[in-house]
Symmetry: C3
Subunit: 266 residues, 3 copies
């Protein structure tokens, strides 16, 4: 689904997007979801995750500050989401940095039907079985395009590897997304927020590669718009939320500015 | 208590306001409390909640990301607050969305003496036994005035149902509060923050209907002030905290701008 | 280590700084770390804290929202940090307010080798065995210089007591740091963020008194820079992150603006 159509559907349907996410960037994730036009909800208690995801149109899982109780909540919510056939989007934060994160990402991919995986190049390379360097939750190196293609092929899901250029692959086609701005790297949580935006698009358009690529292009375009007038990551962040909301409210000319390209070759 | 008097007392006494709250909007709740002029503290460990609330002048409970350990902390802190006769303010986030939230709000109202309940129209309608539509933590419909009156009557506490117009009822009198700005709905957590402001006012003035209504009117007035120059929810939020602090520091002409009206009839 | 040298080393090495911190100000702590030029990571699960701190160049512990599981995570991570001989920086948030906080701070100082302790005057006075008034997590009174000297002497670690003037003592020498701006007190978490900045400096320069003092001076200088144009704590905060990043990216003339003075006497 293209960005304009997705944003119009989000505006009309106001889908509930259930986030099981980390406590570092949770506020940015919630405000991103609201700015895109959807309704965010965070709920992790084992007593209610299944009921809450029963109201939702997508589930976004981010393992940035995982622990065993969190993983159990993800499995409960994820299985209910699968039964309801709503998309589950996974951000495997820190896969490759610690074995708990790598194993958990692999376990979720094995036990749940994931619609799309969105991570940085190092995290995606780790899941693809490639060499990677992940320091904490930052990717220091890695070929995002190869990682996305390889992971999508081996995992059988849509995979996005984000970076200066984002690459999205469904195992057959691969899209390069060239929107974005360097200031996005100067704010903690833009990666988490981009996965939230993918979750919003998936809520109305599913987790296919074109939809994921368009979500990331729209997200990157908001970064370009927000960068004008910002003097650093601090003043960029509020402007970025405004830009996400502004483009979502008036997506008519948005697509002209999106740089989504099919890339050749496997 | 009127807004000017409350803000002057808060400025002089710097009351400690203990929050048991959610992890999504906790930073905004803390900064709101500080901007109003009080001292925020967050402490949830069963080992210290009673001692911490022993230092506080009000307890604000927000069930936005509840789980069993959290509810236990609320009961411990709430009972100590009741013994000390300091006001307990409850934000029943998501009541009506899941049974855990509805049951927990009802349980807290049953086991604790709550001074004031502040929620959106759907949450308050749920507690009043009226039909409501709550999607996640958003109210999609509901007559706020009827909900506030009915809930105040049946629960025997001050009830605020917030929305475009806020309604506050003590079961006998009902106030309509018409301050506010649409941008407040473009930031996650303004509902939680308004309950925090009510908690600050309650710390110096108790949880009576007039005090709660004035807290919400001041809060809404800050939204009106902050909206000038904001381009969306992102840039609105920091300006809003400035406006809360600015009005609190100089409340002399504030009351002329507050739109608090007694409403007739039951 | 002086500020310019520390900031250049941070820029070159991009050290990973592992935070075990509170959920109120965690986002500001992470963004501060990134703005200074280091890489933040938050990870608390007992299953991974030791592995994660094994990748880090410093561990920053902040007990602002402690509970037993958190303290256990700190002990696991702290012991591993000690084995690896990377600095552990402690912010004893709320020591003096509740016995849990005071006892926990003392326990961590006893069971771990702490490189530096950074707190407000009341918290540090508490650890020095002096009379103090701590309301929640705010220090209401206390002689920061005496507290820092006394605590450094009795604990045998570098101690910073922050306030209008910050005092840093290693038990032999004591530095007064006079950078800063009153608006820093209008944002929740500037204390936590200053400890995060100390953690970044410690990651490349260790926890000696001169390094800690220079970290706080740089931090305060960023506050001075950010205050121009801010209308309150709300608009100050994003500008402050920009200022931290701006000074870190171009530290050439920074030291001329830093007010770090050796103080005479015991």
């Amino acid at each position: 689904m293209r960005a304009e159509e997705a944003l119009r559907k989000i505006h009309t349907e106001k889908p509930l997007v259930h986030h099981l996410t980390n406590y570092v960037t949770v506020n940015l994730v919630a405000n991103t979801t609201l700015s895109v036009g959807a309704l965010p909800v965070m709920a992790h208690s084992h007593e209610e995750v299944e009921e809450m995801v029963g109201l939702a149109s997508a589930l976004v899982v981010n393992i940035g500050t995982l622990d065993p109780a969190f993983v159990e909540a993800v499995l409960l919510a994820g299985k209910r989401a699968n039964e309801r056939e709503i998309p589950v989007v996974l951000d495997p934060v820190g896969a490759g940095a610690t074995s708990l994160r790598t194993r958990t990402a692999e376990r979720l991919l094995s036990e749940l039907e994931i619609a799309a995986v969105c991570g940085n190049a190092g995290e995606i390379a780790t899941l693809a079985g490639l060499a990677a360097e992940v320091r904490g939750v930052e990717s220091l190196a890695g070929d995002a395009e190869t990682a996305a293609r390889k992971a999508a092929g081996s995992l059988g899901v849509t995979v996005a590897a984000t970076g200066e250029t984002d690459y999205v692959s469904d195992g057959e086609r691969t899209w390069a997304v060239r929107n974005g701005h360097p200031l996005m790297g100067h704010v903690v949580g833009t990666g988490c927020a981009s996965t939230a935006a993918v979750g919003c698009f998936a809520a109305v358009g599913g987790g296919g590669g074109e939809t994921v690529a368009n979500a990331l292009a729209y997200f990157g375009r908001a970064g370009e718009v927000a960068a004008g007038g910002a003097e650093g990551g601090g003043t960029f962040e509020p402007r970025f939320l405004d830009a996400l909301a502004g483009l979502a409210a008036n997506p008519h000319h948005l697509e002209e500015a999106l740089k989504v390209e099919d890339t050749p070759g496997a």
